[in-house]
Amino acid sequence: MAKRIDVSGLSAYYGSTKAIEDISMSIEPRSVTAFIGPSGCGKSTFLRTLNRMHEVIPGARVEGKVLLDDENLYASSVDPVAVRRSVGMVFQRPNPFPTMSIYDNVVAGLKLAGVRKKVVLDEVVERSLKGANLWKEVHNRLNKPGAGLSGGQQQRLCIARAIAVEPQVLLMDEPCSALDPISTLAIEDLIGELKSQFTIVIVTHNMQQAARVSDRTAFFNLAGVGQPGRLIELDDTQRIFSNPSVQATEDYISGRFG
């Protein structure tokens, strides 16, 4: 069910400000692609254009093409709501719905899609929570509020919520930046397991994390303050971290800036 993504000539704007410019890349199915780069380089913005979350912000718009297995997400007949069902997202800060129980959080997406059968929902809850390595910890308190979990558990709950609707792609926007090292490790392990089923794209500030979890890494940079972000290079993670073809990448990775 995982699909590949082909982006060509993509630019994104906030009002009249151009945030990213002319980005083209291919993202392989059943693999983890990491986006790295200094703050403000547009990697999160770019991530949000992959499931049309970017345009949720008032005044934001996108130019260019994103093909999900040859289907352009930005074609006029495409429904952004349907796109987000196929391309799931996990956010920087864990955001389980505060008024819902753990169970209801996991099935929120299915309920929206009109699935009401208890048997189906029960099965999905168990499968998703197991998939997110959270089942053992919460299976006896599924009706407790999701906000009562620890930060790392909350984030895994959000991953369970995202995979419950069986998306083809999973976008993760710095999923560990608000977590402690042990929770981070748990999430990283989880990413490794999930990539057998999903195409995973992860934005991270942490280069060690990119090196640990990803198969391919894309480096983003901006020419200066107020300039739009650009894709500098995309390659196998090993190559990027050992022998990048662009000098700026090497400078960034070796800590010379950013």
């Binding site: 999900l68 289907e71 997400l73 074609a75 007949s77 495409v78 429904d79 709501v81 349907a82 796109v83 069902r85 196929s86 299915l110 929206l112 899609a113 009109g114 699935v115 609707v165 069986e166 083809q168």
Partner: protein, 358 residues
């Protein structure tokens, strides 16, 4: 919906993988709105419905229903629900705008003919109430004095209470005060009037006067002043207080010289908004000030007039077209005064907000 052609829609396959869906064109809601209004007016005109309220209601119902039906056919149930919510929200917006605009325009339209120099500078003394002529000068004087006295009573008490709650308040007393300030905001104005009546006039034996009215107004004003001042004082950064203490300045001087001046813009705004609120109060004034046709500029002795009460009397006592006209004139002046206060207050809030933004 059962037609095989709707397989692309979301409900045919709950977790459907299709990214495309039949969508209504962008201009569809506007077209539905225009069509519904035309249809609604048509039905109203043909059916001979007298009130335009009905025309509007029919149009609104048509707009919501047609929009939903159309979207349900073309886009599927979920999209249709979304559109339904959108149209209902827009209808709510229109529903709110209509009476509010009607109120404003009607008041201006009716009042503009009446308000002139003569109207503003003459009282009703010697004017036959059922006839034309007369003015609101006595009512203006009365309102200004009563509101002024009420502010002079309520503002210091409210301010000090807020200072107590923010700067000193700990423990049960502060909690009780906070709770009752909240509850006091909800005291109906007529109850405040009854209270002053039983205390000031019946128990203490004072007569009708502008001042007893202003006491009731002060009761209504105090909690509002406390609330807004409290909010403003909380916005003053603690660093300012600490910097002042570090210089050896005593607490009370810190409050008077540092905290209050920093928050003065917001405090003024709050006081002005509460002044605007009590200016329009009718019920307690009616009970305690009694009303007069002549100019009485002494608020401590004898009946006075006030703008809201003047409107009430012109409407319900005079109760003819001359009375209505004067009532609208006074209403226009009252609204202008209250709105003016509001605009100035918000202007000050913008200009001197302690946050320095917005």
């Amino acid at each position: 919906m059962s037609a095989a052609t709707t397989t692309v829609s979301a409900d045919a396959r709950p977790l459907g993988r299709a990214l495309t869906a039949n969508r209504l064109p962008k201009w569809a809601p506007a077209a539905v709105a225009a069509g519904s209004i035309a249809l609604g007016c048509g039905i109203g005109a043909v059916g001979g419905l007298a009130s335009h309220l009905q025309w509007g209601l029919i149009s609104a119902i048509l707009f919501v229903a047609i929009g939903y039906a159309l979207s349900a056919r073309v886009e599927g149930r979920r999209q249709a629900k979304d559109r339904l919510a959108t149209s209902v929200v827009w209808v709510a917006f229109i529903l709110a705008v209509v009476p509010l605009v009607a109120l404003t325009f009607y008041t201006i339209q009716q009042g503009a003919d009446v308000v002139n120099g003569y109207f503003l500078s003459h009282s009703m003394k010697g004017v036959l109430a059922s006839g034309p002529g007369g003015g609101i000068y006595h009512a203006l004087i009365g309102t200004l004095e009563q509101v002024g006295l009420a502010t002079a009573t309520a503002a210091p008490v409210g301010l000090l209470t807020a200072v107590y709650l923010v700067e000193y308040g700990r423990g049960r007393l502060a909690k009780t005060v906070t709770f009752f300030v909240d509850v006091m905001t909800g005291v109906p104005s007529i109850v405040a009037g009854l209270f002053i009546l039983s205390l000031w006039n019946l128990a203490l034996g004072f007569n009708y006067s502008g001042f007893s009215g202003s006491l009731a107004l002060a009761i209504l004003m105090m909690p509002v002043v406390v609330r807004s001042t409290e909010e403003m004082l909380k916005l003053v950064p603690n660093e300012l207080r600490e910097a002042s203490y570090a210089l050896g300045v005593p607490k009370w001087k810190t409050i008077l010289r540092i905290v209050l001046p920093t928050a003065i813009g917001g405090i003024t705004t709050g006081v002005m908004l509460s002044v605007a609120r009590i200016t329009g109060e009718t019920a307690p004034v009616m009970m305690l000030v009694f009303g007069a046709d002549y100019i009485n500029s002494n608020p401590f002795d004898g009946p006075q007039q006030s703008l809201p009460m003047y409107i009430w009397q012109q409407y319900s006592v005079v109760n003819n077209d001359y009375g209505y006209a004067r009532a609208w004139g006074a209403a226009l002046v009252l609204i202008a005064f209250v709105m003016g206060l509001n605009l100035i207050a918000r202007g000050i809030a913008r200009w001197r907000s302690p946050k320095g933004g917005h």
